[in-house]
């Protein structure tokens, strides 16, 4: 992306019909640390790679519960993401107040997209610098949407965003056709494997990833959106590694310090 005379304002078109400010906002998403989402017919899973600014700080929260039936994972300017999560929460609460029913996920994604679009058409605003993976459960099953700063949104079977997300996407592309019938445990495993791809060799532990799931069990009971706790994530990672029987088990369980050293800082995530 080069600087040119059409990129100062979000309200300036380029001769080629592009809005550069919006495209630059989408670049910000690519700078954030990776997030992955995938779904089956009945469950949706969100996973995020945690990046901390330094060994001394805590890591950024990237996965937020928006309602009992939906949540988001974000990549990019997390401050923008926090504000949007708050907006989504109040949209869900207001809808439930008026209609006594959960806001369908497609409508939730639409509200978010409309809000993002407003910022691409006002000279005194800037586009939100955050991409959101919106996962949720409604009457028509589990859904996953990607909302980008441009105001566009698409439904996905599986998707990854953020830095090094291409590695995750390649992994997901190989297997996504079968996802509709996956069990929740299989979804979780694939989400963790996808996140592992983005870590580029670093060991996956419960302290460098977050995981959340929402869905409806076979007997009809709903499992509300919730983060999976670190202990359980570690158990799943351990059982995954045992199943793989990877020969590269030379590295001992790395301390927090070692994990953060090798990673590039994701400036926008901090």
């Amino acid at each position: 992306m080069f600087r040119n005379q059409y990129d100062t304002d979000v309200t300036t078109w380029s001769p080629a019909g592009r809005l550069f400010q919006v495209e630059y906002a989408m670049e910000a998403v690519k700078q954030g640390s990776a997030c992955v989402g995938l779904r089956s017919r009945t469950h949706a899973v969100l996973a995020a790679a945690n990046k901390a600014a330094s060994e001394l700080s805590s890591h950024q929260r990237k996965v937020f519960r928006v309602a009992d039936h939906a949540g988001v994972a974000l990549a990019g300017l997390t401050a923008d993401g926090r504000v949007l999560s708050r907006f989504l929460r109040s949209e869900c609460i207001n809808h439930a107040f008026v209609y006594d029913a959960p806001l369908p996920v497609s409508r939730l994604a639409l509200r978010l997209a409309d809000k993002a679009q407003v910022c691409t058409q006002r000279s005194w605003k800037r586009p939100y610098g955050v991409g959101l993976l919106v996962a949720g459960l409604d009457e028509s099953g589990a859904h996953l949407y990607y909302n980008c700063p441009s105001g566009n949104y698409f439904e996905y079977q599986a998707f990854a965003i953020g830095s090094r997300s291409q590695a995750a996407k390649t992994f997901l592309e190989r297997k996504f056709k079968g996802y509709d019938d996956y069990t929740p445990e299989q979804l979780i495993r694939d989400a963790l494997s996808a996140i592992k791809e983005t870590l580029q060799g670093e060991k996956l532990t419960s302290s460098n990833c977050t995981l959340a799931i929402v869905g409806r069990k076979d007997d009809g009971t709903v499992e509300p959106f919730e983060m999976i706790d670190a202990k359980r994530i570690q158990e799943i990672i351990d059982s995954m590694e045992a199943a793989e029987e990877t020969p590269v088990a030379a590295a001992e369980p790395s301390s927090t310090q070692e994990e953060d050293k090798g990673t590039d800082a994701a400036p926008m995530d901090i």
Binding site: R89, I93, N94, A96, F97
Partner: protein
């Protein structure tokens, strides 16, 4: 009945009671919904569980009560999102007071009793008027049968003079079962003389194990 052409409220009757114990709280309300001298339904709950340790019982105008309960439930959900925990009973008590006073000049026609466990796990009861004036007490009754029930609760549960030393706790030393029995008795008495109270009694007991609900039949006349 009101002669004013602009009277927007009606009283759907009913009675609510709450009693606080050392580590439990009992909140009870009848399930009769009336208007005038008629019964609209015998099976309407006046109780709303706002948080895991916080239960609200309201009597008065059901339209306002429904709106009030929905309002508080939505605010509690927002609190959960922001603070990552459920609202405590004292916090909800303040919120309810503010919500009621917010409509000081067009009040919620709701007479509320909030019961639950405070942050230390002790039983607490908060009693309100229609515009949000509230007080933490050991027990309370609100609604059409309150004037029949309150004197009996005073007789059984009122602590001796606050001037007496050593200071005694407002909460009753009664056990949970004794408190539930007392509540059943006072409702049975109120049902005899208050036409708006009867049909069924819904009792919710909150303790550290969770929330339990039971239904007792009352006189249907």
């Amino acid at each position: 009945m009101s002669r004013r052409g602009d009277w927007v409220y009606e009283n759907n009757g009913g009675t609510c009671v709450a009693v606080a114990g050392a580590d439990y709280c009992v909140v009870a309300a009848d399930t009769r919904l009336s208007v005038g001298y008629s019964i609209l339904t015998r099976d309407h709950s006046k109780i709303c569980e706002l948080a895991d340790k916080c239960v609200l019982a309201s009597s008065g105008f059901q339209g306002d009560i429904k709106a009030l309960h929905k309002n508080l439930a939505a605010r509690e959900l927002l609190y959960q999102h922001q603070h990552n925990k459920r609202m405590s009973c004292p916090a909800m008590a303040q919120l309810l007071s503010n919500t009621l006073y917010y409509k000081r000049f067009f009040p919620y026609y709701a007479f509320n009793v909030l019961g639950g466990l405070d942050s230390e796990g002790k039983g607490c009861v908060f009693t309100y008027d229609a515009v949000g004036s509230y007080e933490r007490t050991g027990y309370s009754a609100q609604g059409t049968g309150s004037s029949l029930i309150m004197p009996v609760l005073d007789n059984q549960l009122k602590s001796p003079s606050p001037l007496l030393l050593p200071a005694r706790d407002a909460v009753t030393p009664l056990s949970e079962l004794e408190a539930v029995d007392l509540v059943k008795d006072v409702f049975a008495s109120a049902t005899e003389r208050d036409i708006y109270t009867g049909d069924k009694l819904e009792i919710v007991v909150i303790n550290k194990a969770g929330t339990k609900r039971e239904y007792i039949d009352l006189r249907k006349d």
